[in-house]
Amino acid sequence: MREKTYCSDCVNVLIAGNPNVGKSVVFSRLTGINVITSNYPGTTISFTEGFLNFQDKKYRIADVPGIYTLEPVSKAEEVAVDMLRSGEIIVNVLDATNLERNLNLTLQILKLGKPMILVLNFWDETKHTGIKIDVKKLEDILGVPVIPTCAVTGEGLREVISQLSFARASSFKFNDSEKWQAIGGIIEKAQTVFHKHHTLLERLSDITIAPVTGLPAALGVLFVVFNFVRFIGEGLIETVLEPAFTNYYMPFILRLFSSLKIDFLRGILLGNPPVVMESFGVLLTGVYVPVVVVFPYILSFYIVLSFLEDFGYLPRLAVLLDNFFHRLGLHGYSAIPVMLGLGCKVPAILSTRILESKREKIITIILILMSAPCMPQTAMIFSMGARYGMKTVGFLLAIIFITALIISYLFNMIMKGDAPELFIEIPPYRMPNFQILSKKIWLRIKDFFMEAMPMIILGIFLMGILDILGITAFISSTLARPISYLLGLPREIAAVMILGFLRKDVSIAVLAPFNLSAKQFVVAGIFLVMYLPCVASFFMILRELGIRTALKIIFAIFIIALSVGSLLNLFL
């Protein structure tokens, strides 16, 4: 991770500062490299570097993860501190609305004696928060260039670039033991604070983090998110993607390969029969699943998620749900992937990367997979379950949720270790910048197409081969009898299971012709939600956890789904 691009005549510039002060936005602005930024601490986990040419000088710029102090507490901070020592110029980014605390790190950095410049970011916010900073005075005291910026709009960044060659070691002297007095002295001279009223966003912040009002607010947010995701996702599928696929793409592909007579190749490319949802053709199903089924939900989810991230809602949600997640041996931060999983499991599994230990990742993925169906499947359960009444549907979903809780609780007991106590800074709410937001959504979509989609296509390709070799048919005929017996469902359930691997929502829909009783519907619904992840998420888990762990988890979940289904069949 720390290898460096070779560039002998480059000047090493490091962007350093407290978490969530906008270092990554400054970095993107300087280098033109897009990195994911958000309004919560710790978005930058590994470091990124880029280059900048200015007036015959070449700079290699690195975005250092945020740190509060040069005395490292965690592994990530250790890396950051090591990096700082290797830099030639340090660009110290500060949150101008929080000068006193940010200067703590600045004073430690200037003790390194390296040439540096200070960037006072969020300059625009100081105006309406009643803070006035005398930039000239600060420059005089510290003896380094100080530049006010608003990185999201790009204001002041040109100035930062042109000041790079004026970076110098600070002349400010102080005793380590009197660090805070020194900071107090600087603040007194360079900053004036006016009285100000609570802003609307601050009030909103208080409301959404205090448990009494925060939990209902969280439910409200969840409700809006769901409806938005469904509206955009389903809209895209029904009006754009599905018609485009069936009316243009599919006939085109079929015509293109109409003269292909080799059955084996036809089977692999188009599927046999060439019907999208009944076979595994790479060119048809392999494109249909990621593009038509998953992509719309990925897009709509990322739109909402990115907005909530930049607004600053997610750390508040993490705090609200921390207690609940701690009982499962997790951190409040696991709330984010689990919430994503209510929409689509694919981005949810991807986002478990923010979690530190493999243990946390495993339990979170189990929760993602088991706690609720994905959005399309939920919709299908509701529409199919309507004829049995909402009580039945509610019962079905409740059983799924309770099972997930019990299982992750058990996994937590088996797997040693506990998540550390929550300790995070809660950033103020900020109105997201449209340009930065759209760039971020674009980056994530690109990531989906570059990283996730090949996995899904590969998965469907492998499934196709199994299908052609007759292995799938063998498995389903072997499983049909025991499974239908255990669950009290028609034999065809085996075929539905295979289908559900491709599209979990359709697997519920095809239950319609069987005229199931309410009990059978509940058993079938619960089983089909839990038994296996869909092909797309299956290969995501494989990639995130490695093949052995992934297979173990999936096998365990299958057994659990079968047991729960059998028990319900016995006792309902």
């Binding site: 407290n18 740190i67 509060y68 102090t69 005395e71 507490v73 609305t97 929080n98 006193e100 605390r101 703590n104 790190l105 928060t129 805070w180 912040s205 208080d206 983090i209 205090a210 448990p211 009494v212 750390p315 993490a318 705090v319 609200l320 921390d322 207690n323 409040g332 106590e421 929550l422 300790f423 995070i424 800074e425 809660i426 103020p428």
Partner: protein
């Protein structure tokens, strides 16, 4: 003297002592929590969830274990 955990919601207290190892003391110091500063307890829930405090302009959510190690004083001026 009482711990931050015992401090009443909405009240402010001055940190007098942090009974913890160097790691935690440094971590808290980095966020501006150190002996001498005023800390306001903003909210706390019925269940055992983290408590929310504010120091200057910074809001921090902190686990109960950590909060119990931060001793504060109120009333005296």
């Amino acid at each position: 003297m009482m711990s931050l955990l015992e401090l009443e919601k909405g009240k402010e207290g001055r940190v007098v002592l942090i009974q913890a190892g160097r790691g935690l003391i440094n971590k808290l110091d980095g966020l501006g929590i150190r002996p001498g500063v005023s800390v306001k307890k903003k909210s706390v829930s019925l269940v055992e969830s983290p408590i929310l405090i504010s120091v200057g302009r910074t809001q921090i959510a902190i686990g109960r274990g950590m909060a119990s190690k931060i001793m504060v004083e109120t009333g005296k001026k």
